[in-house]
């Protein structure tokens, strides 16, 4: 049982993750240019585990008593969350003179890799995973309300982008449509569940109403084809008369249909375990070790198991921001970002940009929400001879400075070559 719970948490956190940056449009051209760009980013966070804990969990190391106690102090029965994203994409913009009688248009093409994880869990599940079931002797550990989702996919996308100017403001609008190849999906939902350990450990009762979905486990590397789907992205800037602008962007409107090799386990019953029956005390031999080393109990904690296709909706993101340009040196943006169907807490952010020159800037990021709490970040971007643009940053600079007091970590890097 212990190992099963650990597996869940480990699976949840094994993959470093992303969707870090919400505004990386540092330099905007007024005309379309042939360009190639690449971006990579990650973000991971939790409302319970600080960065010290998370870094050990993800990158390896010993999670000690103090770290666990600090996490326990942050437990909140109704809102224990964690999540993360890892993204990587290569993008091309190819200008075209006119399309549908509009000018300054471009075609966009790209490929991307996405991994996403999110979970909501109970206090007891967390304590069970990190301190074992002995602490619950004579009590129930509540598992109800636990939910976990993980998926990885690759996408090929194409779209159209248009650049216009209004009230002296450069505006961008467009859409992308992507074809998804699913690599892996795992989802666990426990609407109702508990684990009771008898006072002396003589028996354990696991009451579970759960559903567990998983794509083919025999092949889940990047070459795996475990389903297909579609995702779309639309975005548009709106100019205000005072030179400010609104940006509205909706990402990942779409779905993935998993292949027929996917498995679904379900149960709604109480599993009673009171030891492995042996014929004689002289036959104990490796039954003891087997009961520890193999999840022999857990192999059977389902009442239905079926193989077949199923679909999931992508966790759609919505980003709305307002940007005010004070002068050639200063610009500020305030926005709200939310991700649906992903155990996500609405994320409010500000980006304050200072231009050291027209080709070099720095941006201060302050935000709250998401999978963590307060975030302070810093990024920098440079435009080299109008040929190459580079940027590097994090929305969680404090994660590197005070990891024991911060709960999210992120980073992003990008390069764009213009021709």
């Amino acid at each position: 049982m212990m190992r099963f719970l650990i597996l869940i948490i480990t699976t949840i956190l094994f993959f470093e993750s992303s969707q870090a940056q919400y505004n990386t449009r540092y330099f905007q051209d007024s005309i379309q240019r042939l360009s190639f760009s690449s971006e990579a980013g990650f973000v991971y966070g939790s409302s319970v585990m600080n960065n010290d804990f998370m870094n050990k969990f993800i990158y390896g190391g010993r999670i000690d008593r103090t770290m666990k106690d600090n996490a326990y102090n942050k437990l909140n029965t109704d809102n224990n969350r964690l999540g993360g994203d890892l993204t990587f994409n290569v993008n091309a913009i190819i200008p075209i003179d006119t399309l549908f009688k509009k000018t300054n248009m471009a075609l966009t093409f790209g490929v991307s890799h996405t991994e996403h994880i999110d979970a909501v869990f109970t206090d007891d599940l967390f304590q069970l995973a990190f301190d074992g079931n002995k602490q619950f002797a004579g009590e129930e550990a509540i598992l109800s309300g636990t939910n976990m989702n993980y998926f990885a996919y690759q996408k090929v996308y194409f779209g159209i982008n248009a650049i216009t100017q209004k009230h002296g403001v450069i505006l961008s609008e467009g859409f992308n449509v992507g074809i998804i190849k699913a690599q892996e999906h795992v989802a666990l939902t426990i609407p109702k569940g508990s684990l009771f350990t008898e006072t002396d450990g003589k028996h354990i009762d696991l009451t579970l109403n759960y559903a567990f979905n998983q794509t083919d486990t025999s092949k889940n590397n990047i070459s795996a084809f475990n389903g297909f789907g579609i995702s779309t992205q639309i975005y548009k800037d709106f100019a205000l008369k005072n030179g400010d602008k609104f940006h509205v962007e909706i990402n990942d409107i779409g779905f993935i249909r998993m292949s027929k090799k996917a498995l679904e386990y379900k149960a709604d019953k109480t599993f009673h375990y009171d030891g492995i029956e042996v014929n004689s005390i002289f036959d104990i031999n490796d039954s003891i070790t087997n009961s520890i080393s193999q999840d022999s109990l857990l192999d059977n904690i389902y009442t239905s198991k079926k193989q077949g296709s199923y679909g999931i909706a992508l966790p759609t993101t919505i980003n709305i921001s307002y940007t005010k340009t004070f002068n050639q040196k200063w610009k500020a943006e305030v926005g709200v970002f939310n991700r649906l169907l992903a155990n996500y807490f609405p994320y409010i952010y500000t980006n304050t940009t200072y231009y050291f020159s027209s080709n070099f800037l720095s941006q201060l990021h302050v935000s709250y929400g998401g999978y963590g709490k307060l975030n302070i970040g810093l990024s920098a971007a440079v435009n080299i001879k109008n040929k190459v643009q580079l940027y590097l940053g994090t929305n969680n600079l404090n994660a590197y400075v005070v990891p024991k007091s911060t709960f999210v970590n992120s980073g992003f890097i990008g390069i764009k070559a213009l021709f």
Binding site: I58, D131, N133, G201, I276, I281, S291, A417
Partner: protein
């Protein structure tokens, strides 16, 4: 310009792919958890302590041990054997004759004597299995037909006849033929041509010139036909005759006694032991048996105890079995001697927990001579049997009666190093009127002890009522504390030896063991465990 841009694009993409294609696999985190879970459960009854096959229930539901073992058998092989025998017969031509196709030129009957051991004189045998390998050499320079007959061998009324075509000799090399005859189920009259001999059967060979020969052949004086009969693996099912006035000695030899295989120590006082030593004679000979020695031996403790009883050294006459001429084929003659606690030291022999019985027995057959008129008989499946029937009620006093077993254990590599320390907690619900102590010894592959683990606490005996009967169970908790060092040893353990010692409650009274007594055991693990320990 366009070509220069293309090169830049390719270079840019190559750099991007190189940068992001190498994703690191990180180390696993580790942390400690405290686990409390049931591991195994079992219920012991008396059948787990003694073999089920020896337990019987008395009308009052108390149990008794009934163990029957064969000490030794005197069977047909003990009395005699028919060894493989080769008989060479040479038939030389005394006169020269011109034989036409189909002409018989030779016919002769011969007696063949078997070398039966121990001077046993057989006049009849029914063969269970066996063969006669026949080889025939012919110097006649034409194919001949040899008809080989054993007129005294019949099967379902038919005589054993073999007719074969023998190749012609060529002057320098005789014609040669060989075959194997299965003589299973043949009856052999072993009294010879004139029915006045023993161990003798008759063969007949008739030779004729091949009827398909194109011309007559000259059979010259001195030309030979040679026949070799080889009796191979002859096993009779039944024989009759006179088996002689013979004396045999069996032993000193040992036979296994496996009632107490698991008991390795302590003492047991039995209220009563009854043993019946039974001789069953299925052979048609009178027998006189003398038991020179009967001894119980415990080779584990190097202790032994010889039977002290009037049967030792005194001859026992057992009459011959009688044939029924139906199924079963004989009526056994039996002789039983009762050996009890009252007339012997049999209880002391049993209380040694013997694993062997040593016997030394003399057997004299036909002590009065050939009084059957050559009608002694023996069936292969009806020997003279000596059986020991041991019976004792499980009414006993046990003191540290120790059962030991060694079993293999192999912690999986997956978990090596993960358990830090902890307790194995044994919860017992004891329905036996025994106190019990359990200890473990962890052994390496050579069964050298790595560490002994002794628990705190004993399994307590169930309380007895006024009839000295346990009607309720007693709960006990026994804790095996496993230190970090013990756990290290556990990971190197190949075998684990489990010792369980029982002591009856209420000594010195004899306590009966009743059907239904049970000991419920549950082992709970209370361990500190490192997840993903390196």
């Amino acid at each position: 310009m366009m070509q220069k841009n293309n090169i830049k694009i390719v270079l840019f993409l190559a750099i991007i792919l190189a940068l992001f294609s190498c994703r690191k696999d990180f180390e696993q985190p580790e942390w400690d958890v405290d686990l409390l879970a049931p591991l195994v459960k079992t219920t012991l009854n008396i059948g787990d302590l003694l073999p089920d096959s020896v337990l019987q229930t008395n009308p009052d539901t108390s149990l008794k041990v009934v163990y029957e073992t064969s000490i030794f058998d005197v069977d047909m092989d003990s009395l005699f054997r028919i060894p493989d025998t080769t008989i060479n017969e040479v038939f030389p031509m005394s006169l020269s004759v011109l034989a036409a196709p189909g002409d018989a030129f030779y016919s002769v009957d011969r007696e063949v004597t078997l070398n039966v051991t121990n001077n046993v004189q057989l006049n009849y045998a029914l063969i269970e299995s066996g063969f006669i390998d026949i080889e025939i050499w012919s110097e006649i320079q034409e194919q001949i037909i040899v008809t080989y007959t054993i007129p005294t061998a019949t099967k379902n009324g038919d005589t054993l006849v073999l007719t074969e075509l023998i190749p012609a000799g060529n002057g320098s090399q005789p014609g040669y033929f060989t075959t194997r005859i299965d003589i299973s189920d043949y009856e052999l009259n072993l009294t010879g041509i004139n029915n006045n001999k023993v161990n003798t059967f008759v063969t007949r060979a008739i030779a004729v010139v091949d009827t398909n020969a194109t011309q007559s052949v000259l059979v010259s004086a001195g030309q030979e036909i040679a026949i070799t009969n080889k009796l191979v693996d002859v096993v009779p099912a039944f024989v009759r005759g006179y088996f002689g006035n013979q004396q045999f000695r069996f032993g000193p030899e040992s036979t296994t006694f496996d009632v107490f295989n698991r008991i390795t120590g302590g003492t047991l006082d039995l209220d009563q032991v009854n043993v019946n030593l039974t001789f069953e004679n299925g052979i048609g000979v009178d027998a006189r048996l003398t038991i020179n020695q009967l001894e119980a031996v415990n080779t584990n403790t190097s202790t032994n105890s010889a039977l002290n009883h009037t049967i030792i050294g005194n001859a026992i006459n057992i009459n011959r079995a009688q044939r029924t001429f139906s199924i079963p084929e004989v009526n056994y003659t039996t002789h039983t001697t009762a050996i009890t606690t009252a007339n012997s030291n049999i209880d002391q022999m049993i209380e040694l927990f013997p694993n062997e019985l040593v016997y030394d027995i003399s057997l004299h057959i036909n002590p009065l001579g050939n009084i059957s008129g050559n009608n002694d008989f023996v069936f292969k499946k009806h020997p003279l049997k000596t059986n020991l029937n041991v019976e004792f009620p499980l009414s006993l006093i046990a003191n540290q009666l120790t059962l030991t077993d060694t079993t293999k254990i192999n912690l999986s590599d997956e978990n090596k190093g993960n358990i830090i320390d902890g307790d194995l907690i044994l919860y017992a619900e004891n329905g036996f009127p025994f106190d019990a102590t359990i200890s473990l010894s962890l052994l390496d592959a050579s069964n050298n002890q790595l560490v002994a683990i002794n628990p705190s606490g004993n399994i307590l005996a169930a309380p007895l009522n006024s009839n000295l009967r346990a009607t309720t169970k007693k709960s006990s908790k026994v804790v095996f504390q496993l230190s970090e060092q013990d756990i290290t040893h556990l990971y190197n353990t190949e075998n684990i030896k489990i010792n369980v010692s029982f002591t009856t409650l209420g000594q010195p009274q004899f306590i009966k063991i009743y059907e239904g007594y049970e000991l419920d055991l549950k082992v709970v693990g209370d361990f500190s465990y490192t997840v993903n320990a390196k």
